[in-house]
Symmetry: C2
Subunit: 655 residues, 2 copies
C-alpha cells in the first residue's frame, strides 16, 4: 500500500531531510574530515555536463568503510511498515556500514527489534531510543495531532542521540532512495568549509535556544493554535537564512509540487530520493508518477532477505548469530537427500510482528487467544474464523514481501476483518521450499498476550460458543494455580464444501449420525485423535482425563508459557504430534471438554502433503527427523521418554 492521507506532513518532510542534514552537522559536527575538492573539480565537466546540471557538484566520498549514521523517528504500526520500505531502498544501494538510530514508541520498538534481529543484515547496527523521553521537551508546543509530537521530536534529537555522534542524516519514513545514501552523507564534506564559520555563531546562541525562541515568538505574534515541526523549521529559516544550504533538487523530488519537481528531474540524469505524498491518486494519470510509483513498488515488494549481503572489503559486521548460522549452513551436505529439510530448519525468517494495527486484549485472568498460522491460499478462511471466534487471535502468516502488501489490501477491503483490532497478524517472510509450520506456530504463540492459548489450525472453525465456554472452563477447573493441564477441543471434519455449521453439540451429533460430519481424519488416520475417545465425549457431562497414546495430536488449550513447538519439523508431518509428546513428558494432564468442538473444512491437498504422498525421500527424511526428536527426548527426560520411543517402534513394526 502506498502511503496516503498525510499530505501535509509529506509536503514538508524532505525539507526536513535537508535541514536536519545541515543542522545535524551544526550540532554534532565536530570533526569535518573531508572537505571540498578544489575549485577546478567543482567546475570541471567530468562526468558529462548532464550529470551536474541539476545534481550536485562532484563530491568527495568518505573513506570506503566509514560508518554512516541515520536517525529515524518511528511510532505506531503504519510507520513501522513504512520504515521497512525506506530501509530496503537504502540497503539496496548502500555500500557502507550503517548505524541506524531509531527513536520509537513502545509499539514500533517491539516490532522493529524483532524485525532487525531476524533480518540479520550484515554491517547494520541498530540502536533504539525511547521517544517517551523526548515528549516533555516538545509537548508544550500546541499541535493538532498526537502524531505531530513525533514530528516535533526532530527538533530535539540532539538531546537523545549520543554525544559521540558527530553527524547524522535524519530521514522521514516515507522516502524512497534511488541512489547510494553515501552521496548524501558526502554533503557533510561539501558544506564543511562554509558551515564551520557558522558554527562559531551557533556556539554562542545554541540551537536549542534558537528554535525555542522562534517557536515561542511564532505562538505570540501569529494566531497560531498549533505548530508542526516544519512550521518551526520554516520560521527558524526565515530568521536565520544563513543556517540553510539547500540540497540539489534531485535529493528532494516531491510529488506534491508537481511543476517544481518536474523542472528538476527532467534535467537530471539521476533522482536520488523520491518523497511520497499522494501517489495513489496519480496512479494512472501521470506517466512520471508512474515512474516514481514503480520505484516505490520495487522496494515495497522487494524480498528483504536478498539484502543480507555484506559490503565488500570492509571488516565484518555480523549481526548476532549470523556467523554461527553461516557456519552451520556451510557444514550441510548438499548431496544429502534431506538437505532441503536441514536447510529449512536452520533458516532464520524475517519476522514482522503485528503487521497491522492491533489493540492488545485487556488483561483478564482466564482469557484465551486463538493461535494459528497460514499462507496466502488460506486468506479466505479469515472472515469465517472471525465470525466463529470473537476473542483475541495471534496469527502467523507465511508470505513474500509482495504478498504482504496483497494481504494488507485484503484486510482493508474486508468489512469483517478491518474492524477487528484484537487480531494480531505476524508476517513471517518466505524463504525456502518447505513450509516452516512449527516456526510459524512459535511466532504466533510468542505473541499471544492472554494467560491461555488455544492452539488451532487455520482450516478449523471453532464452535460459536467455544471462546466463552473455554474461559468459563478455565475458571471452573481452576487452571490458574499449579495445575498443569491441556484442555482438549475435540476435532471433527466435513468432507462437503457446502456445509451448515452446527449451533450446538446436539446438532453436531445429529450431523455425525447422518454421516455429514466425521471425527477428524477418521478415514485415514484415526490414531491421531483416538485418545480423545469420541464415544465417551458423546455422553460426557464433565471434563474427563485421557491418556497419551502414540500419534495423538489433539487441539488443546494450554497456558501461554507452554513448551514451544519443535522447529525441526518443517513441511508436512509430525509437527503437532511432537508437541503433544512434549506436553505429556512435562506431565500436562489431558482433559477433554464435553461441550467443546471445532470442525475442519475441506480444501485441496497442500503442496507439502502432495509431496509427502508422492516422494519416498520426503517420507524417509520425516522418519529421520522423528528419530532425532526421540534421541533428544531421551536426553532430556531420560527413561520417562522411553514410552514414546517404544510406541513409535511398535507402530512402525505394525506398519
Amino acid at each position: 500500500m502506498l502511503p496516503r492521507g498525510r499530505p501535509r506532513a509529506m509536503g514538508v518532510a524532505v525539507l526536513l531531510l535537508l535541514l536536519l542534514l545541515v543542522i545535524g552537522f551544526f550540532l554534532f559536527g565536530r570533526d569535518p574530515e573531508y572537505g571540498l575538492g578544489t575549485t577546478a573539480t567543482l567546475d570541471g565537466d567530468l562526468y558529462g555536463s548532464r550529470n551536474l546540471s541539476a545534481s550536485s557538484p562532484q563530491l568527495l566520498l568518505p573513506p570506503k568503510c566509514e560508518m554512516l549514521h541515520v536517525a529515524v523517528v518511528c511510532a505506531g504500526y503504519n510507520s513501522s511498515r513504512e520504515i521497512v520500505t525506506l530501509m530496503k531502498s537504502v540497503l539496496f544501494y548502500r555500500k557502507n556500514p550503517l548505524h541506524l538510530h531509531l527513536i520509537t514508541d513502545a509499539i514500533a520498538r517491539n516490532i522493529l527489534e524483532t524485525l532487525f534481529r531476524t533480518w540479520m543484515v550484515p554491517a547494520v547496527v541498530v540502536s533504539f531510543y525511547d521517544a517517551e523521553e523526548l515528549k516533555p521537551l516538545v509537548s508544550w508546543i500546541p499541535n493538532k495531532h498526537y502524531s505531530g509530537l513525533y514530528g516535533l521530536m526532530k527538533l530535539v534529537l540532539p538531546s537523545i542521540l549520543p554525544l559521540s555522534l558527530a553527524r547524522v542524516i535524519v530521514l522521514d519514513t516515507d522516502v524512497t532512495f534511488s541512489s547510494d545514501i553515501v552521496e548524501l552523507w558526502a554533503f557533510f564534506g561539501h558544506f564543511s568549509g562554509v558551515i564551520l564559520l557558522w558554527l562559531d555563531r551557533l556556539q554562542q546562541t545554541g540551537w536549542e535556544q534558537v528554535w525555542k525562541l522562534t517557536a515561542k515568538r511564532e505562538l505570540l505574534t501569529q494566531t497560531a493554535t498549533s505548530l508542526a515541526d516544519q512550521d518551526i523549521f520554516n520560521a527558524v529559516i526565515k530568521e536565520h537564512p544563513e543556517l540553510v544550504h539547500p540540497l540539489p533538487c534531485v535529493w528532494n523530488v516531491q510529488l506534491s509540487d508537481h511543476t517544481l519537481a518536474e523542472r528538476c528531474y527532467l534535467e537530471a540524469a539521476d533522482l536520488k530520493v523520491i518523497h511520497w505524498n499522494s501517489p495513489k491518486k496519480l496512479q494512472v494519470k501521470n506517466k512520471h508518477a508512474e515512474f516514481f510509483r514503480s520505484l516505490h513498488l520495487t522496494f515495497l515488494g522487494y524480498d528483504g532477505k536478498l539484502l543480507r549481503r555484506e559490503p565488500f572489503g570492509c571488516p565484518n559486521h555480523f549481526p548476532p548469530g549470523a556467523e554461527q548460522l553461516q557456519q552451520a549452513l556451510a557444514q550441510l551436505d548438499e548431496e544429502e537427500p534431506c538437505f532441503e529439510f536441514r536447510q529449512q530448519q536452520l533458516t532464520v525468517h524475517r519476522v514482522h510482528i503485528t503487521f497491522l494495527s492491533y489493540q492488545p486484549p485487556p488483561p483478564q485472568p482466564h482469557d484465551v487467544t486463538l493461535v494459528a498460522q497460514l499462507s496466502m491460499d488460506r486468506l479466505q478462511m479469515l472472515e469465517a474464523l472471525c465470525r466463529h471466534w470473537p476473542g483475541p487471535m495471534s496469527l502467523a502468516l507465511y508470505l513474500t514481501d509482495a504478498e504482504a502488501q496483497q494481504f494488507l489490501h485484503f484486510v482493508d477491503m474486508s468489512p469483517v476483518l478491518s474492524v477487528r483490532k484484537d487480531v494480531a497478524y505476524h508476517v513471517v517472510y518466505r524463504d525456502g521450499p518447505l513450509y516452516p509450520v512449527n516456526q510459524l506456530r512459535n511466532v504466533a504463540l510468542a505473541q499471544a498476550l492472554t494467560p491461555y492459548v488455544f492452539l488451532s489450525d487455520i482450516d478449523f472453525l471453532p464452535a460459536y460458543s467455544l471462546y466463552d465456554y473455554l474461559r468459563a472452563s478455565i475458571e471452573q477447573l481452576e487452571l490458574g494455580g499449579r495445575r498443569k493441564a491441556a484442555l482438549v477441543v475435540p476435532a471433527f471434519e466435513t468432507l462437503h464444501y457446502r456445509f451448515s455449521f452446527p449451533k450446538s453439540k446436539a446438532e453436531l451429533l445429529t450431523l455425525l449420525d447422518a454421516g455429514s460430519l466425521h471425527t477428524f481424519r477418521y478415514h485415514e488416520w484415526p490414531q491421531g485423535h483416538a485418545s480423545t475417545d469420541y464415544s465417551r465425549w458423546r455422553e460426557a457431562q464433565a471434563p474427563y482425563r485421557v491418556q497419551w497414546s502414540a500419534h495423538y495430536e489433539p487441539y488443546v488449550v494450554v497456558p501461554r508459557d507452554c513448551p514451544r513447538y519443535d522447529p525441526r519439523f518443517v513441511g508436512f508431518g509430525w509437527n503437532k504430534v511432537a508437541h503433544i509428546i512434549e506436553l505429556d513428558a512435562q506431565e500436562y494432564e489431558f482433559l477433554v471438554l464435553p461441550e467443546a468442538f471445532s470442525i475442519h473444512l475441506p480444501h485441496a491437498p497442500s503442496l507439502d502433503i502432495s509431496r509427502f504422498r508422492s516422494s519416498p525421500t520426503y517420507r524417509d527424511c520425516l522418519q529421520a527427523l522423528k528419530e532425532e526428536f526421540h534421541q533428544d527426548l531421551s536426553r532430556r527426560y531420560g527413561s520417562a521418554a522411553l514410552k514414546y520411543l517404544t510406541a513409535l517402534q511398535l507402530s512402525r513394526s505394525r506398519a
Copy 2:
C-alpha cells in the same frame, strides 16, 4: 532457477562481452564522437580514490538521450528465460533509450516477440534477425554441440546487423548488470583515440578474413576436433594482441575463477556486471557468492511491469499501443464503483509463451489440445491432469515473476510433469486485483497448435478415455469439413475430496445414483448445464444436438479458430456464458457426446468468488458488464442477438 550446467560456456562469455565491445567498434565504428577526457581528469582523485582503484577512469558519458545498441544471440526455451533476467537488470539501471538486436531461432523469436510486445517498455526498440541466415557462415566450423553454433554466430554478427549500425554491445544471456549500461557504452569513447589507429590496419585485412584464417589454421595445426567461438577469439587475440583492450575487471566478475574475481571486487566499490557460472553450488558455502546470487535473484523475481517507465527528458519512444492504452487508462474515473473492473480489462499483461521446453504435437487432422488456465494455488492439479489427459495441453498460468521461478522448480521436481514435453505452459504475469480469466483463456487458446481444442477448467479431471474418444468422435462426425459444431463434454462434480475416479460411464452412473457424484453445480446453478440434458445423456448411444438456453456454459470441443473469449469478464462470473453465446450466435451446433465426461474436484472457494458473494458492488459491476456485452452482441449480430437479451431479462425478472 539459476543457470547451471554450462560451466564452459560461462567461463568464456564475459570475455566475449569485452571482446565484442571492441571488435564491434572496429567493424561498425565510424563516428567516434566523444573522446577521452583530459589527462587531468583521468588522474584526478575526484570521486574518492576508491572509485578508481579497480574501476575505470572517469569516462565521458554520451549525450543524454543517445540510443544505445545491444545485440544478443538467443536460441531455445532456456535462453529465452535467461534473457529476461538480463534485460530486467539492464532496464532497471538504464536511463537511455535502447535498441535491442536479437538474433534468434524460431523458438526464441516466437517467445520474445510476444514478450516484448506485451511488456511495453517505453524507449526500447526490438529488432529480430533470423539466426538461420548465419548458420551457413559458421556451420563449416566443427563444434561439439548444436548450441555451439549459436555461440559461433557472434563471429559473424556484422554480416547480419544493419550497416548503419555504428556500435553495438554484444551480451551473453547469462550476465546480470549491477550498473547503468551507458557506462559500458562510454568505453567506445574511451578507446576511440587508440582504436582509430588500428582501424586503418583492419580496413586492410578485414575482420572476416582475420578470424576465418585463424580458425582454419587452428584446425590444421592443432588436433582440434571442434572449435567453440571462444577458442577462435582466443586464437585471434593470440595472433593480434593489439586488437584487444581489456575492460576493467569490475565489468567481468566471474564466479568460476574465484580468487581472480575476489582480488578485483574486494578493491572495487562498484561491480558492474556479474557473470554466472555455477552459483547453485555456491549457494550456502560462500558469502560473496551469496552477494552475487542476491543480485541475480533480485532481477529473477523482479516484477517486470515496474520497468514500464520512461527515461526522463528524452523524446517519447512509446511501444505500439502504449499511448492509446495510457490515454484509455487516464480517462477512467477512479471514483466509479467499477473502476477496478475497467482497469483490469484494459491491463496488458506481460506474456511469456512456452515458458518451459516444449515439443509441439505432430500435425494430425483430428487432434485435440486441452486448454485451461490456473494460478499458483492450483499447481497440485497438474499431475493428476497429466495422468487423465495423455494428449497435448496449452495452459496459461497467472503468476508473479517470483512465482514463475517456483513453478519452474515444481515442474523440475515432479517426475510426472518433467517428462511431459507436449504441455505448453504460458506465463501471464500478474497485474491487478481481479483474475483476468478470459485473457488467460485466450492466451492458452491462441497457443494451441492442433486443429481442435477442448476448452476446460483446471479443477476438472477428464475421463481417462476422453482424449482418444474425442479424436475418434471428431473423425466420425466429420467435423473437418464445413460443419460448425461444439462437442459438449458433460460435467459432473464430487463434493468429496477423497474420491475414486470412475473408469467408465457405467461406473460414473453408479456413483451418481449413490449420491457420491452430482451433475456440475446441480445444487446452486442447475441452469448452467441444464441444456446438456443429463437424463437423455444417461441413455444416449449417439451424439445428440441440444439448443442453447440462458446461462448455458458447457465445456466444449471446438475448432481452434473458434471465437475468442470476451476479455471484459474479469474475476468471477459469466466468462464462459458469454463465450457459449458467441458460439451460438455464430451458429455452432451443440452436440453432446454420449461417452464423454469430466469431473470437478472440490476446492476452497477462490478469493474472487468470495468477493462476488460478499460484495453487492461486485455483483452490480458484473451486471453492468453483461449489459455492455449484450449491446455489443446486438451491434454485431442484429436481431439474431435479441434472444440472448430476452433470455437475460427474463431470468432477471424471475430472480
